[in-house]
């Protein structure tokens, strides 16, 4: 299958390893990955902060970019981020409609229908749970809010992780509670966000895991920041990185 990578602005600029790992996993499974270079950002930050006027331009740019990719033979769009896929699926058409642009809304819906978060693409569209990874470490998984409640990915990431050779997967207490990121929430309500984060960090520590993984670079950045700040020694890795890993020990960078 030809799959267009929607890298997300955050993974592109700050966490390229998550995006590279997404490419690695898909190519290892025999799929062709294309990267529409025109892509920039889905506009989620603008939408969620109240700047829908600005978001509109970004939505239009995103839709145009991936519409072209689909027209040029891509059968699906994948992103290593539940939250950006959530924005594409649940917000793009809404932003367009709010601005009175019904045509754009319909185009956005078409792109949204073909856009998947990585675990959805693997488990639902491609029908695999064993992606040939091995990762002999103690890992705990945080289901990010948008994956869990906007996309309803359910236990798909866990299905994938359970098939990873050598992994010691431990359950995170109060896993489904938000880590406190929430985009600009972490800045506008920094104190509350910090309180949420510190509870999350406590739960991660309780698992005695070496690695915390999730399907969203943004939440991982947030939790990783807290884990490092408290000198816990727990590393954060994107789900894609674990799924890409074949050489156990070496993969923990």
């Amino acid at each position: 299958m030809r799959i267009a990578l929607f890298v997300t602005c955050l993974a592109d600029s700050l966490f390229p390893e998550a995006a590279r790992a997404t490419v690695t996993v898909l190519e290892r499974l025999g799929h062709e990955v294309v990267f529409p270079t025109a892509q920039t950002c889905c506009g989620q930050m603008h939408t969620n902060t109240g700047y829908q006027g600005h978001a509109l331009g970004l939505v239009e740019h995103h839709v145009t970019t991936f519409e072209r990719a689909l027209d040029e033979g891509a059968e699906a769009v994948v992103a290593p981020s539940g939250s950006c896929v959530g924005s594409v699926r649940h917000q793009h058409a809404m932003v367009a409609r709010r601005a009175g642009d019904e045509a754009l809304a319909q185009r956005a819906e078409r792109v949204a229908e073909q856009t998947f978060e990585l675990s959805e693409l693997l488990v639902d569209r491609l029908g695999v749970t064993d992606v040939g990874a091995s990762f002999p470490h103690r890992v705990t998984y945080h289901p990010t809010c948008h994956s869990l409640r906007m996309l309803r990915v359910g236990d798909k990431p866990l299905q994938l992780l359970r098939e990873v050779r050598g992994i010691d997967l431990v359950e995170l207490p109060a896993a489904d509670e938000c880590c406190g990121f929430g985009g600009t929430f972490a800045m506008k309500n920094a104190d509350t966000s910090t309180a949420m984060l510190s509870d999350k960090v406590t739960h991660v520590r309780e698992t005695r895991a070496a690695v915390l993984t999730a399907g969203d670079a943004s939440c991982l950045m947030h939790m990783g920041g807290g884990l490092r700040h408290q000198r816990t020694g727990v590393r954060t890795m994107h789900l894609a990185e674990i799924l890409a890993s074949t050489d156990g020990a070496g993969a923990v960078s």
Partner: protein, 506 residues
């Protein structure tokens, strides 16, 4: 108000109205977050109730079907509101009641005051009601020389403590049993000074204190959970029996109800009476639910006069029609005040109800309060739609399926629009400038690629893993408790370009 030494009141300043505080949410939250007793009380109480709710919701096989039904009934209600209210009015009137209409809090307060005056009484017993809290009825009555006694245990605690409610269902959720004992021991007339902090002992103290009041009260004041248009029947859902006392024993009953509480059909109650108790107290059914239609002495086939001889229903607008006018935001009017969204909200759990500055706290408060008071671009309530990480836990549990996260996002846009139209051509906020700049850069891949490349040049602004320089002011709050990530040597698109040109493999 003054804060009494040793009293567990956590309120600091008088709110500017029952639905709008004096400080914005981040400022109020900061103070609440510093209160470790509050954090412990709330953490304990919300986790208990979350567990109970999950257990009793889990045993209902058709929960989702009930939610779908409830959502549709509420949508239908809003679409047919004028005719339903007229039908309700006609049926209540035919059953011996009197219906009054109040455009705002002042008008409602005046109506209730006049009705109480007409009875010649100077005291009323009250059953917990959000509508009367919203209009500040007790304070108004007090100014008019009428004493309103709250009879719900938690309301009583809050009233005796001269505190503010902090939860829709359990207004004293922010107080622990020890603190409640303290309130009773020092404030409750005639209380046994040896009272213990056992919940049972505290409940019995309230029983003894209120008993005489119930038996002598001539006027009861209540809210309503539901009102059925086709029959004129009103419903109050409660636990302690104080509701039954107030609704049954007095000679006059005055009910203040938001116009959105009407339901089309009697049958619709079969949906809401399944959803509400399980969502709110985590019970299969709450101990007592009272239904009455006008002055029920009229009813055939019953054993004669039953309940108040006079019944007045006050239908309250107070900003609801403004909420209704917004196609997205109007779903906030579907709320049945179960408080499930508060109990699962990670923000509410940590900041408590007072941080929201309104009698409607938590996720529902964050969408309802600013709509009731109006988003002006610079009011305190404008900060409420941002008091959420958009985690969506509220939407999952809401029995009437209010998409709270989407409404929050929409209200944020309305706030920014209001702000822009206020500022006009004057200087926009630093945030607006930053957002505009970011959007400009991100709309074009060349500008975007250049910007991400140049982020690496920003590294001199980082020291010991912390931000310095211009970016730091925006990020301070964030970076004081988190270490910022280190920047990669190469963006993904640079890596991809290199790979495509054969630079290196994948």
């Amino acid at each position: 108000m003054s804060t009494y030494l040793g009293m567990p009141s956590r309120r600091v300043q008088e709110p500017s109205s029952p639905i709008q505080g004096v400080r914005d949410f981040p400022a109020a939250a900061r103070q609440a977050l510093g209160d470790s007793v509050l954090r412990r009380n709330l953490g304990h109480a919300t986790s208990v109730i979350r567990g109970k709710r999950a257990a009793v919701v889990g045993e209902v096989p058709d929960w989702e079907a009930l939610r779908d039904s409830a959502e549709a009934i509420k949508t239908e209600t809003m679409a047919r509101l004028p005719e339903l209210l007229e039908q309700l009015e006609a049926n209540v009137t035919a059953a011996g009641g009197t219906v009054h209409w109040a455009r705002d809090a002042d008008e409602a307060n005046r109506i209730v005051t006049e009705l109480v005056r007409a009875t010649g009484e100077t005291e009323v017993v009250k059953v917990k009601s959000m509508a009367t809290q919203e209009i500040g009825l007790n304070e108004h009555l007090e100014d008019e020389g009428i004493t309103a006694y709250e009879t719900d245990l938690a309301e009583l605690i809050v009233q005796l403590a001269e505190d503010q409610p902090s939860h829709i269902l359990v207004p004293a959720i922010h107080l622990s049993r020890t603190e409640i004992r303290e309130v009773f021991a020092t404030r409750m007339p005639g209380v046994d000074p040896l009272l213990t902090s056992e919940p049972r002992a505290l409940a019995m103290a309230a029983r003894t204190y209120l008993r005489e009041l119930f038996l002598r009260a001539k006027v009861g004041v209540s809210g309503a959970n539901f009102a059925v248009a086709e029959t004129g029947t009103l419903t109050v859902v409660e636990s302690e029996g104080n509701g039954r006392m107030c609704l049954t024993l007095p000679e006059t009953l005055i009910t203040v109800m938001g116009i959105e509480k009407v339901l089309p059909r009697w049958r619709d109650l079969e949906v809401f009476l399944q959803l509400l108790p399980r969502s709110s107290t985590g019970e299969r059914m709450n101990p007592y639910t009272t239904f009455w239609t006008g002055t029920t002495g009229h009813t055939e086939g019953t054993t004669g006069p039953d309940g108040p001889k006079e019944f007045h229903l006050v239908l309250l607008d107070n900003g609801r029609t403004d909420v209704l006018a917004d196609e997205v935001g109007r779903a906030a009017l579907h709320c049945i005040r179960c408080s499930a969204c508060l109990n699962v909200c990670p923000v509410y759990e940590r900041t408590g109800g007072h941080s929201y500055g309104s009698v409607y706290p938590g996720p529902i408060g964050a969408i309802l309060s600013p709509q009731l008071t109006g988003l002006t671009g610079d009011s305190v309530n404008d900060s409420l739609p941002y008091a959420s990480s958009l985690c969506g836990a509220c939407y999952d549990v809401c029995p009437v399926k209010i998409d709270i996260p989407s409404i929050l996002v929409d209200l944020r846009a309305r706030h920014v629009e209001a702000q822009q139209s206020r500022t006009g051509l004057r200087v926009p906020s630093p945030e607006a400038v930053a957002m505009a700049a970011a959007a400009y850069v991100m709309r074009d891949e060349k500008r975007f690629a250049a910007a991400t490349r140049s982020m690496r040049w920003g590294r001199p602004f980082m020291k010991d893993g912390h931000l310095r320089g211009p970016l730091s002011s925006v990020m301070t709050g964030w970076s004081s408790s988190r270490d910022v990530p280190t920047l990669p040597d190469q963006t993904f698109r640079e890596w991809w370009a290199e790979r495509e040109s054969g630079g290196h493999g994948g």
